[in-house]
């Protein structure tokens, strides 16, 4: 394997469950655009400041195309050249290819539409809280609350019939679990893809009033595109929010003063959600972009074809943008955080995520005012080697 001798790999070692690796902060101070070596031998860049991260995300000269990406982490798949994005997987496309697919969905995720879903989301949350209560003190909050809530919400949105939901949830959980074996993952992915294929066929035959039904009705997408878009929405809408719910609850339970501010008065919950998004920055290995042409950034030449890892953690903890960035302060304005990205790829489902988090955190602490960890904080298993950070389990009592 070739590797540039002078360039380090992506820093991943955490010393605290909530803080980014220390090296990220050091680099931001000294060299916010620094050389980075990739496991496949590529020599690229690591970006750790807010200003540069935001600038690059908004600049179309930096591409999202899958075939131009390199993976920063050592993983068997990281050494293979990446194929172009499959039809419908628009988050790994640029320009009009991306715009065409995204536009078919944007009307479905407006602030108003997401607010209209609140009663439905609340119902799902209340039912998950019933399950948690029935499981009794010592129950795992991830299993009974953080995972099922976003999963059932996305099932409702996609229009997955109630009878198919347990299979749907089981397959998606297998794909996203760290300890699933490779074969198990491929089998679950195959089963999920087949299931979504059948669902698409059913919705073509009999149109329904949900996102997938709406996409079918546009008449602009073939079956492969529809299945891939459904898969994308499922993955994007599920694991991210689930980890924010689990890790966010862990953060509030270990920061009693912040929890107190949150539970003391109404009107704080929006700020709590934004601050947790900023402080936790669960997209722990950042966003990836590739320079399409030579670009000068802060006096440094980035060459065409070079891949940049944009540290969302670094950006969201940048003291140039946020005062005392390492402090969790639910009453601050975290406006401008980059946890949903920036630029034209910014998270399409962010308003749904906000509705889910707002209702979920508020309902959880209202229902269980004495909620506490059932284990020591050090015993909570964290998702250090997963693309999306969080906790695997969160045993709680009340």
């Amino acid at each position: 394997m070739t590797q540039a001798p002078s360039a380090p790999r992506l820093p991943v070692e955490r010393t605290d469950p909530f803080d980014p690796p220390k090296r990220i902060g050091e680099l931001r101070e000294t060299e916010p655009l620094s050389r980075l070596s990739f496991p496949d031998g590529h020599l690229g860049w690591l970006v750790t400041s807010y200003a540069l991260t935001r600038q690059i995300l908004a600049d179309p000269r930096f591409s999202s195309r899958q075939e131009l990406r390199h993976f920063p982490l050592d993983h068997p798949l990281a050494r293979e050249p990446q194929p172009p994005a499959r039809p419908g997987m628009f988050i790994r496309m640029d320009g009009e290819d991306h715009g065409h697919y995204r536009r078919l969905l944007t009307g479905q995720f407006t602030v108003r539409r997401m607010r209209a879903l609140e009663p439905l989301v609340q119902e799902i949350i209340d039912s998950a809280l019933d399950d948690l209560e029935a499981a009794g003190p010592g129950a795992d909050l991830v299993k009974h609350f953080a995972l099922p809530v976003p999963s059932l919400v996305i099932c409702e949105l996609l229009g997955v019939p109630a009878a198919d939901r347990s299979k749907f949830q089981r397959d998606s959980a297998t794909i996203m679990r760290l300890d699933s074996g490779g074969e198990e993952v491929w089998a679950a992915l195959g089963s999920l893809t087949a299931f979504l294929g059948e669902l698409v066929a059913a919705k073509r035959a009999e149109p329904t009033d949900d996102i997938l039904g709406g996409l079918c009705a546009t008449g602009e997408l073939d079956d492969e595109e529809l299945v891939n878009m459904a898969l994308l929405l499922l993955v994007a809408g599920h694991e991210t929010t689930a980890n924010m719910l689990g890790l966010g609850t862990f953060a509030l339970l270990t920061h009693p003063e912040e929890r107190e501010k949150f539970t003391a008065g109404p009107g704080v919950v929006n700020g709590v959600v934004e601050e947790l998004l900023r402080w936790l920055s669960i997209i722990q290995y950042g966003a990836t972009r590739t320079a399409l042409e030579d670009v000068e950034l802060d006096g440094v030449q980035v060459s065409a074809g070079e891949c940049l890892i944009l540290s969302v953690q670094g950006a969201n903890r940048d003291p140039e943008r946020f005062t005392d960035p390492d402090v969790l302060d639910v009453t601050r304005s975290a406006q401008g955080h980059l946890s949903f990205g920036h630029g034209i790829h910014q998270c399409l489902g962010q308003q749904l995520a906000r509705v889910e988090m707002r209702l979920a955190y508020a309902s959880l602490f209202r229902r269980f005012p004495t909620l506490r960890l059932a284990v020591e904080p050090e015993q909570v298993p964290t998702r250090t080697n997963m693309l999306i950070y969080g906790v695997h389990e969160l045993p709680v009592a009340w």
Partner: protein
């Protein structure tokens, strides 16, 4: 204060409608920005600046 929006640039993330709902809305079908008040009242100025800063696509222009 004068506000302009460019719906062609808009990527329908909804940040403006979330941040300053009295000034910005989203098109029901496309999700793209709809300007409700090109000269918003002073009480809304702070949230309008915030909305313009938050816009991921740079589709909002504000003039003092």
């Amino acid at each position: 204060m004068e506000v302009e929006v460019d719906a062609r640039k808009c990527c329908a993330a909804g940040m403006c409608a979330l941040t300053a709902p009295e000034v910005f809305d989203q098109d029901e079908a496309a999700g793209t920005v709809v300007l409700l008040a090109a000269r918003p009242p002073q009480a809304a100025w702070e949230s309008v600046w915030e909305a313009a800063d938050s816009c991921p696509a740079g589709a909002i222009t504000v003039r003092d």
